[in-house]
Symmetry: C2
Subunit: 230 residues, 2 copies
Amino acid sequence: MEVTTLTDVTDSATAKGEQTRELILSTALRLFREQGYGKTTMRAIATEAGVSVGNAYYYYGSKDHLMQAYYDLLQDQHRSAVEELLASEKAFVPRMTGVLRTWLEVAAPYHEFAGTFFKTAADPKSPLSPFSDESRPARDAAVEIFRRVVEGSDLKVPADLRAELPELLWLLQMGVVLFWVHDSSEDVRRTRTLINRAVPLVDRLLRLTRIPGVRGVVTDLLGLIHSIKP
Amino acid sequence: MEVTTLTDVTDSATAKGEQTRELILSTALRLFREQGYGKTTMRAIATEAGVSVGNAYYYYGSKDHLMQAYYDLLQDQHRSAVEELLASEKAFVPRMTGVLRTWLEVAAPYHEFAGTFFKTAADPKSPLSPFSDESRPARDAAVEIFRRVVEGSDLKVPADLRAELPELLWLLQMGVVLFWVHDSSEDVRRTRTLINRAVPLVDRLLRLTRIPGVRGVVTDLLGLIHSIKP
DNA sequence: GTCTATAACACGATAGAC
DNA sequence: GTCTATCGTGTTATAGAC
């Protein structure tokens, strides 16, 4: 009985902590969306959430960590938003195009904020860097989406290339995102054009790999990739 | 006579200002190199240069502007360091490889600092962004190097592709630099490997463009590039 | 126009009490 | 887990000297 009570106390304490953690995060994201990352101060987040600055730092080691948490959230949303498409569509081009378009939709509310996000992500020393060890789980989850894009499709490519393809497609997405961050056109039309034209191009390129003369270049490329992996 | 004297005074004043400007910059760069960007304070730069903080801000609007000045300097050094190679070597692969290797050499002392630099550069709102209007002169100068790489070489590619090639090679360099920033291997060996293998691959790829089946993909690619330009 | 000296402000981050 | 007080730093402001 005493044990049970003790457990209950611990549980409720943990639950309360979790509640505070989420309150701080959701408040921060709202303010980021409303006023941008730069103009949102840690003081404002704390005040708005009804906690102290010190408490905010108790849960999130830095302002950047709040951004990191947002990134994880975004990835989660993208994964579930893409579920239906990957279950129904079988052709490579609409699969890949759909995945990229869905990303645009999910990330849209944070387009301006995303600039600051990638600013931090570009720093090799930052745990938010897409190439850092800390973000490996998030990166693996992202690559996993493209593994499913490839596996569930009608794509016919050599086995060795197919194995590297998910990571290469993820890299393509990184490029699209980089373009998107800098895209200030109405309704990010230029990014949409990029997706609409780049994916069929990739598809065409992949079909070419069966031509003997092209095959050698692909082998070289795969060798290059292998040689620069850490 | 009075005019001459007046001019002299103005000139010497300007010269003195220029001297102070350079003193501040060189001091800042030395401290950045020695202790990193983050740990170098504006107060330290001013003290070390023997000027007041206010004076440092008189010449450089912000700490980031000092980084911007470094970038311009780097580009200048790269351009002159590459001069001899471009004058003597005629084959595409050694030309391109040499240009990229030279960049590594010129930038080497600032490898760690470069992380912070690209962090700032990745922000679309920053004037340091390689895609911003403010950095257009610097970008044009960089692309110009690759225009010379192409023009002075024995490369045989279709005219429409050749026209876009300098910008594409510059983009390749951006990729190499991004890789380099994240490369913590001894003597950046992985980046060297990337250059050594990627350039011949590009060369091979460019030769393939004469195959009819491949030609169509190139046309598509050029169309894509054209359609997403602002 | 160039420069000094000093104070002040805002913000990210931390220390230490409770 | 939570708070208040405080620090260090980028940046700005003031008020003037040469």
